[in-house]
């Protein structure tokens, strides 16, 4: 196939221009997080802050109306527990749905796929009522447990296990394992890639969740997204603190993402969304 040099050069120009556009929002966070208020609201646009100092960080930490430290800890606890719970529950179910082929299994698979089509809007009012009836409002149980049953995660795991060779498991069963021990000793250690991929998706989704934490995480369990949202809409918002808070809230997920991206891409491409 003939690829002209001009066309290829043009592709790079477009790719670089688009990449700069895609990085612009992240740049705006950093620029504003380290600028003074006068810096940000100056009529003249300056690409760099006047001086880099950490006063915005200290005033953010001292600002009780945001409560960033507590909110970050809450988000970490919620996202960590939810990821762990979702991965374990979905891993077990996805494995069983791939391995056991019977009428019940096929019916359960259909039930799972059906929930992929149902919008969250359909469930959020009654889910809130159920959570409230259980007395779980403003608790970590309320934040974590209702969101732990992900049809998406179960479906991705099932697709992965369909292509997972059965020989190792069969050998371990002959060696005296039961399905439970064989699952944890043989299957799980050999599925680290897909576990990392699905775990990353769940972790990022959980950390970034807004609607459910707004309803359930009231005071003691206010997450960082809710805290930022409330600060953003409060009277007399201070830009440097708001953007420093944004930076603090986004950094953990950027690190997670950069470290686990490889698995994420692999998981999405091999397990194939159909």
């Amino acid at each position: 196939m003939r690829t002209s040099r001009v066309a290829q050069g043009l592709r790079y120009v477009i790719a670089i221009a688009l990449a700069l556009f895609f990085l612009l929002p992240l740049y705006v966070i950093v620029r504003n997080a380290f600028s003074t208020n006068a810096n940000i609201t100056s009529a003249k646009w300056n690409w760099l802050p006047d001086q880099v100092n950490l006063t915005n960080l200290t005033s953010l930490l001292a600002n009780d109306s945001i409560g960033i430290g507590r909110a970050m800890a809450n988000s970490a606890i919620m996202a960590g527990l939810q990821t762990l719970g979702t991965v374990v529950v979905s891993l077990l179910a996805g494995y069983a749905l791939a391995r056991y082929d019977n009428r019940v299994s096929r019916a359960l698979l259909a039930l799972t796929i059906f929930t992929l089509m149902v919008p969250a809007a359909t469930t959020f009012v009654p889910m809130f009522i159920i959570t409230a009836q259980l007395g779980w409002i403003d608790t970590f149980r309320g934040l974590v447990i209702p969101g732990m049953f992900s049809a998406f995660a179960t479906y991705l795991f099932r697709q992965f296990f369909l292509d997972f060779p059965t020989e190792l498991e069969d050998a371990s069963l002959i060696d005296g394992c039961n399905p439970w021990t064989s699952f944890w000793r043989i299957v799980v250690p050999n599925s680290r890639g897909i576990i990392a991929a699905v775990g990353t998706i769940i972790l990022i989704g959980s950390w970034n969740a807004f609607l459910w934490p707004t309803l359930v995480g009231r005071d003691a369990t206010r997450t960082v997204q809710v805290a930022l949202s409330q600060f953003m809409t409060s009277q007399g918002v201070r830009y440097p603190e708001l953007f420093m808070g944004t930076l603090v809230a986004v950094l953990p997920m950027l690190f997670v993402f950069l470290f686990l991206q490889r698995y994420l891409v692999q998981g999405l491409t091999t397990s194939g969304l159909r």
Binding site: M1, R11, Y12, A15, L18, F22, L23, P25, L26, V28, I29, N32, I40, T41, A43, W45, V89, L92, A93, Y95, A96, L97, Y100, V104, S105, L111, T112, V118, P119, A121, T122, T123, V125, P126, F128, A132, Q133, P146, F149, W180, I204, N208, F210, L211, L228, S229, M232, T233, V237, A249, V250, M253, L254, F257, Q261, V265, L268, T269, L273, R274
Partner: protein, 318 residues
């Protein structure tokens, strides 16, 4: 153990237990593996759906155990409610913008990166990174950084450098310019994710197909039109379905970018935000009407889903 006790049992009961257990207890193991997930699914997905459906037929203000049956009263109320109908229009307008735009942009990025050899991983990471950013954070950047109505907003600074002296009030101006902010924010957040799905789809197309077509003299647009797009049909169906569902779920950025900015209407408010304010957010706590609204939304999604499946499977043309 049960085998030792078995002879004492009537044979048909033993047979039933055998059938429940399956050979080597396979059925029991299956149950143990799937039970946590399906219990949770029933309690936190299926019961809520049914409950929503039941609530939708009752007058349920501030109560979860309603007694007054109103038939389709809540539905009739909502379908005459100007604000709810408006929110449906907002959703459809939003979906009409965002679904095709995200589809074209993510496919375009995937095709672009497919041809690029140097720094492919770098570019892929850059476009994929926004996946890690929340809608709340994007709303902060868009509202206070880019589309700030004051002189110092990035866009207004840029326009001033082009000679436009008067700053534009992007989000609060009562014009429809807030759509630019809403659509571009969502585009930035989700294009990279779908790009990855398209890259996966592109990698599955056998090279021989292209080689054969190239031998026949096809190139450029004709390859895209007759080889690439048809081969990406399965990916396209999944992507469009996900995009549609996500567009219906729109909440975070509408709520955070426009929620405290002005009256509704004229400002956009998708059905989810509207129902949230009716059922849980505002003072009225009208769970019956909220339930009816979610049922209406669900049926609209099902209709859209069935329609897009039907169209894509009928024509064979994506």
């Amino acid at each position: 153990m049960s085998d030792a006790a078995a002879p004492a049992q009537p044979p048909d009961r033993r047979g039933l237990w055998r059938r429940i257990r399956g050979t080597q207890g396979r059925n029991l193991w299956f149950a143990a593996f799937v039970a946590p997930f399906f219990l949770g699914l029933v309690v936190f997905v299926y019961v809520p759906i049914l409950w929503s459906a039941v609530l939708s037929f009752f007058e349920a203000r501030n109560t979860v155990t309603p007694t007054k049956f109103v038939g389709f009263g809540n539905y009739a109320y909502l379908l005459q409610d100007r604000l709810f109908l408006n929110s449906l229009v907002v959703f459809i307008a939003f979906a009409v913008f965002i679904v095709p735009l995200t589809y074209v942009c993510s496919l375009g990025l995937a095709l672009l990166l497919d041809k690029i050899t140097i720094g492919r991983a770098f570019f892929r990471s850059v476009f994929f990174i926004p996946t890690a950013v929340s809608y709340v954070i994007a709303a902060i950047i868009w509202r206070f950084g880019f589309f700030n109505g004051a002189r110092f907003g990035l866009l207004n600074s840029f326009l001033r450098s082009l000679g436009l002296e008067q700053p534009i009030n992007w989000l609060g101006g009562g014009n429809n310019l807030y759509w630019v902010a809403l659509v571009s924010a969502r585009l930035w957040l989700q294009v990279g994710f779908y790009m990855i799905l398209f890259i996966a789809g592109l990698n599955k197309i056998p090279v021989e197909t292209y080689e054969a077509a190239a031998l026949d003299g096809a190139s450029g647009w004709r390859l895209l039109r007759w080889i690439t797009l048809p081969q990406l049909k399965a990916t396209s169906v999944a992507v469009i379905m996900l995009l549609l569902i996500n567009a219906f779920q729109a909440f975070d950025e509408f709520y955070n970018m426009l929620g405290s900015i002005g009256q509704y209407p004229p400002y956009g408010r998708p059905p989810l935000v509207h129902l949230y304010l009716i059922a849980l957010g505002g003072g009225q706590q009208d769970l019956g009407v909220g339930g009816a609204g979610t049922m209406i939304l669900t049926s609209i999604i099902v209709v859209f889903g069935v329609a897009q499946n039907w169209i894509l499977n009928r024509g064979g043309k994506a």
